[in-house]
């Protein structure tokens, strides 16, 4: 169990780090997909099967594919240079390290985080579905609306300009 966690954790961090450091955008997309998959595996070790599969379906199946398509369409493979927020890259890495340090120290200072794994809860898909349709029905509806808005927006924004006049 523990070695399994260590391996998955290392794989997640290494592929995430590679995705953020590599020069070739296609390699970055591949690495981030690996990171998404190993996170899904971590969700499985935490007995959250449904979220694990949703993670694979949405992140690997949709987001990673979208990223690859965007890379192909923008034909902009090289990803080095300056950034929007911080001009020198050292500052960005510094902020990242600072956040990492403060988060990790906050985690280690909290006693309750030493908790051992309790027995597995019986969270069936049926229970998930029931609470999605009762307590969580409002957020679910809002997510539906949000996806509609995003779909509308994505179509409007990415449509070719010469189709501008008419509606196909």
């Amino acid at each position: 169990m523990h070695t399994g966690f260590l391996l998955l954790a290392l794989l997640t961090l290494a592929s995430a780090g590679a995705a953020m450091c590599l020069r070739n955008l296609v390699h970055c997309a591949l690495c981030v997909a690996i990171s998404f998959v190993s996170l899904a595996a971590l969700f499985l070790t935490l007995d959250a099967e449904f979220v694990g599969f949703a993670q694979i379906l949405v992140y690997v199946g949709a987001v990673a594919i979208l990223i690859v398509i965007a890379i192909l369409l923008t034909r902009d493979i090289s990803g080095h240079g300056q950034s929007l927020v911080f001009k020198p890259w050292t500052l960005g890495v510094g902020v990242g390290a600072l956040v990492a340090g403060s988060l990790v120290s906050a985690v280690t200072s909290s006693a309750f985080t030493h908790r051992e794994l309790p027995p597995a809860p019986a969270a069936t898909v049926r229970q998930l579905g029931e609470s999605l349709m009762t307590t969580y029905v409002v957020p679910l509806e809002i997510i539906g609306l949000l996806l509609t808005a995003a779909l509308l927006g994505a179509v409007l924004l990415a449509r070719r300009e010469n189709e501008g006049g008419g509606r196909s």
Binding site: A16, V63, G79, V93, G96, V104, Q127, L151
Partner: protein
């Protein structure tokens, strides 16, 4: 056995990697990838807190993770569509070239 702490530290590191990437990379697609990693780190927190928490039957953490996955997908869709539209105009997805608004 793995403790809750190991999951939380993993998630904190993943969050920071994503943040550092989003702050330093110039290509808009990479910035979005960094932000997706940060959201993933948060999801790992939700699942870990839910699994180790006192009331796993309430499903709160799992629900939030599902909603967060949905939101991330929507954000990615709009974001990448916008990047494609930007590319049509500037012939680049690099953010330091996209600077007409100043003052």
């Amino acid at each position: 056995m793995t403790t809750l702490q190991s999951y939380l530290i993993l998630s904190a590191l993943l969050f920071s990697i994503g943040l550092a990437g989003a702050l330093t990379r110039r290509n808009a697609i990479l910035v979005l990838i960094g932000i997706e990693l940060m959201l993933n780190a948060a999801n790992l927190n939700f699942i870990a807190f839910w699994r180790y928490g006192p009331h796993p039957e309430a499903l709160t953490g799992v629900m939030f993770a599902l909603f967060s996955i949905g939101v991330a997908a929507a954000e990615a869709a709009v974001g990448l569509a916008l990047i494609i539209a930007i590319y049509r105009h500037y012939k680049t997805a690099n953010l330091d070239k996209v600077t007409t608004l100043k003052g």
